[in-house]
């Protein structure tokens, strides 16, 4: 009998382990493999502290966005607007008017603009019943346009008076720039929110079976809206990080970040159909992407090859997870 055959199987691999461990193991192995490639091909450059710091700094901006994206995708949606919303937030926060209020207001501005744009996405998806792909595609185009309009398509410098923001990238604690700590904090808070709170539990339910969630009394629409708001909030934080790193706000920031973020989430083992996934997986996926970029740069290879490699990695990662899912359950 079917029901008799499974218990031993399950006993050997506890529930959490089956969903969490196996894909992460593969991701960690891939990272280790990439590190070995780095050590072999560029022994003098790869393992230096400056190189590792630059990998983490590079990963921080998209990393923060990836955390928000993970929530949206586990909740059964998708957010294509993240890069554009980040650009808009950076532009809005660096207008002369905003800058005149000082760095704290600039940060607040970036965060509010991002959250606001995310909530608009959420409203369109949940109460306007638009397909997430379409609603956030519209936001992508419109936010990019608004950013261009506000900035007159010029790059806006962070003024000397507000250099406190830039210090996020220049000040180092224990050898790491502050923005890496911001990234780490977002990851930790995201993990807690997803794994230890009712909000996280509802996110899995809404993405896994929206009808069951609704009939269990969960306000699916409100929750969906909050998920997009959360993604927008992450874009706002990412905007602060990119202002710190580049000392500018620009409508060209974050171009195609949505694709990198989605790819990182998918490589990390989150189902695009929702209901399953982890923050740690997404971050590992992102690190794999960032390390590859770093390896290509260190070895002086061109960016086209880098794109081809990334494309292959997405395919291989998803195929391996599919096989894992088929044999695992």
């Amino acid at each position: 009998m079917l029901t008799e055959a499974t218990p031993t199987n399950v006993a050997r691999k506890p529930f959490l382990g089956r969903i969490g461990e196996v894909p992460h193991l593969g991701l960690v192995a891939a990272l280790v493999l990439l590190a070995i490639v780095g050590l072999v091909t560029r022994p003098e450059n790869f393992a230096t502290s400056s190189n590792l710091v630059s990998i983490l700094a590079l990963a921080s901006t998209i990393g923060v966005i990836t955390v928000g994206m993970t929530f949206v995708i586990i909740g059964g949606g998708i957010d294509l607007s993240v890069g554009a919303v980040m650009a808009l937030s950076s532009v809005w926060a660096t207008t002369l008017a905003t800058q005149s209020y000082g760095p704290a207001v600039m940060i607040l501005c970036a965060v509010l603009v991002g959250t606001g744009a995310g909530l608009v996405n959420g409203f369109l998806v949940s109460y306007g019943r638009m397909v997430p792909f379409i609603a956030t595609l519209a936001m992508l185009v419109a936010a990019r346009g608004l950013a261009q309009r506000m900035s007159g398509q010029r790059t806006q410098l962070v003024q000397q008076a507000n250099s406190a923001i830039v210090e996020l990238s220049t000040t180092r604690v224990l050898g790491l720039p502050l923005l890496v700590y911001v990234f780490a904090l977002v990851v930790v808070l995201g993990w807690i929110l997803l794994n230890r709170t009712t909000f996280g539990r509802r996110t899995y339910a809404v993405g896994g079976n929206p009808e069951a969630a609704r009939l269990a009394g969960i306000d699916v629409r409100r929750h969906t809206m909050l998920l997009y708001g959360l993604s927008g909030l992450c874009c706002g934080i990412a905007a602060v990080l990119i202002m710190a790193r580049t000392t500018t706000g620009s409508s060209t920031h974050g171009d195609l970040y949505e694709l990198d973020a989605i790819a990182a989430v998918i490589i990390g083992g989150t189902l695009l159909s929702g209901g399953r996934g982890t923050i740690i997986g997404s971050i590992l996926g992102l690190l794999i992407f960032t390390v590859i970029t770093n390896l290509f740069i260190l070895n002086g290879l061109n960016t086209s090859d880098q794109l081809i490699a990334k494309g292959l990695i997405i395919v291989v990662a998803v195929l391996m997870q599919r096989r894992g899912a088929l044999t695992g359950t």
Binding site: V10, F15, T198, G208, A212, R214, L215, I218
Partner: protein, 510 residues
């Protein structure tokens, strides 16, 4: 009435068909014999195995045992395409047409008239028009988009598609369910014409009087077994009904407590209406009382439950403990103390990949949370307690709920509503897909809840279940409550009569 076809060798013979699903024996030795040119009616209550049998016939399921013979030759219907190639076409209740394609494109879907992949549109339209004319519906233009057609015309298109495969046997699953009365007459005319051309029809319907009108012979299924093969359609209704209901399996129902009228009213429903689905439904449920809604699929019983729960917008009033329940919000309904175990357990209730614990606590997360922070130890303890109380097997709350049998999954759904005390439980088909032993346990759990003061509103397609479990029964037919009585005053025959009597027969009685 078509003339009785001559007594030839059967076109189709199915012998000793057995089909098992995890935890259930859906078919347990079914025989069916259909002759060329006859209308063969398949009868049985919900869950008797009709749909499983059709799915085997259409190649969607494979039988575990038994054989299928066409013209006396054994055949294997491995896929729907293979069945179609053998001349067996199935028209499902929810028509499988593509709304965005034209009538002709739908009719020839999968075997388009084409040259090197380019469709020959003129020829396709001509072929389609010919088929429609053969069905007496030359007025349906082959070029129009199917989505624009009324249900009756869609039915014709489905039938034309079946004929386009040179079908020798057409299976029709409740073809009259979506049709108005005069459209049914037209459907019957078409069925007579195609059977006159030698095509056999397997006809499934709940409406017994239709079967007398259109059928030649009748096969009756009950609990996955054939109880009568090839009876003449003229067999008296009473005999057919008793064949359908007489059971081998006796359900064990918990004893009812003595009725007491002084318990407070928990649910009061007044004039509840969803246009086109049900109208002017009023009733009440007292604390500790189990009220059963009996009716056919499509009579509106599940929809009434959903409307009470706020999952479906309706006009009229729903009062819980005297307080108005706002329409359209399941969140409010749950907060006010309702709980629903929906009809489709997997699609509507469970997070299949997730653990039993997480499924149990889904509706009561706030009980384990302080400022949103989950007390996971408390959650696990409560889930473990409920797994033990309801005897969910295997008793491991960390297992993914999808690995449980149907009965244990249903217990997990019930457990969800035991986390926080409910005033009213709405149970829609609580024992669907649950085997006999587990049923008795579910009945006991439901009765125990009622004894603890919960008001229960129960929907079931199985009349004995409603009669055995409920204190009071409301009979629903075509969106209205047509009868109300204590369960002890009703029997299965009486309820089936009330449930199935057709509108025209009723007017004749009046």
């Amino acid at each position: 009435m078509p003339a009785s076809p001559p007594d030839t060798a059967p076109l189709l013979a199915m012998r000793g068909i057995v089909k098992r699903f995890p935890g259930v024996r859906a078919l347990d030795g079914v025989d069916l014999e259909v002759r060329a040119g006859e209308v063969h009616c398949l009868l049985g209550q919900n869950g008797a195995g009709k749909s499983t049998l059709i799915k085997i016939l259409s190649g969607a399921h494979q039988p575990d045992e038994g054989e299928v013979l066409l013209d006396g030759e054994p055949v294997r219907l491995a896929t729907p395409t293979a069945a179609m190639r053998q001349g067996i076409a199935t028209i499902y209740q929810e028509l499988d047409l593509v709304d965005g394609l034209s009538v002709a494109e739908n009719i020839l879907l999968g075997h388009e008239r084409a040259t090197y992949g380019f469709t020959r549109r003129g020829e396709s339209n001509r072929v389609a028009a010919d088929l429609l004319r053969r069905l007496g519906h030359g007025e349906i233009p082959p070029t129009v988009e199917v989505g624009r057609l009324p249900p009756a015309a869609k039915q014709i298109v489905s039938m034309a598609r079946a004929l386009s495969h040179d079908a020798r046997l057409i299976v029709m699953d409740e073809p009259s369910a979506a049709l108005a009365h005069d459209e049914v007459a037209n459907l019957f005319r078409i069925i007579r014409e195609i059977t006159a051309q030698g095509v056999a029809v397997v006809y499934i319907s709940h409406r017994l009087e239709e079967i007398r009108e259109i059928g030649d012979r009748v096969t009756v299924l009950k609990d996955g077994r054939t109880v009568a093969v090839g009876l003449p359609a003229t067999t008296p209704t009473g005999r057919v009904v008793s064949l359908m209901t007489g059971r081998d399996v006796e359900y064990v129902f918990p004893p009812r407590p003595a009725p007491s009228g002084d318990r407070p009213e928990v649910l009061r429903v007044e004039g509840l209406t969803v246009p086109g689905v049900f109208a002017d439904v009023s009733f009440s449920v007292r604390a500790g009382e189990i009220v059963g809604l009996a009716g056919l699929v499509g009579s509106g019983r599940s929809e009434i439950l959903e409307a009470v729960y706020g999952a479906r917008r309706a006009s009229g009033r729903v009062l819980l403990d005297g307080r108005a329940v706002p329409p359209g919000s399941t969140t409010r309904a749950v907060r006010l103390g309702m709980g629903l175990a929906p009809e489709e357990r997997k699609a509507q209730a469970l997070l299949l990949d997730q653990s039993v614990t997480r499924n149990i606590t889904l509706a009561g997360l706030t009980r384990f949370a302080r400022a949103g922070w989950m007390d996971r130890r408390g959650e696990a303890a409560e889930a473990a307690r409920l797994v033990e109380t309801l005897d969910i097997r295997p008793p491991d709350p960390r297992r993914p709920v999808k690995t449980l049998s149907g009965g244990n999954q249903q217990k997990a759904v019930l457990a969800r509503w035991l986390v926080e005390r409910r005033r009213l439980l709405l149970l829609d088909e609580p024992t669907r897909g649950v085997d006999v032993g587990a049923r008795a346990e579910l009945y006991a759990v439901i009765r125990r809840l009622a004894d603890e003061g919960v008001a229960v509103l129960l929907v079931s397609s199985e009349v004995p279940e409603v009669l055995g479990l409920a204190d009071r029964v409301l009979v629903v037919r075509e969106g209205r409550i047509v009868h109300e009585a204590p369960a002890v005053d009703l029997d299965e025959h009486r309820v089936l009569d009330l449930v199935m009597v057709s509108t025209n027969e009723e007017s004749r009685v009046d």
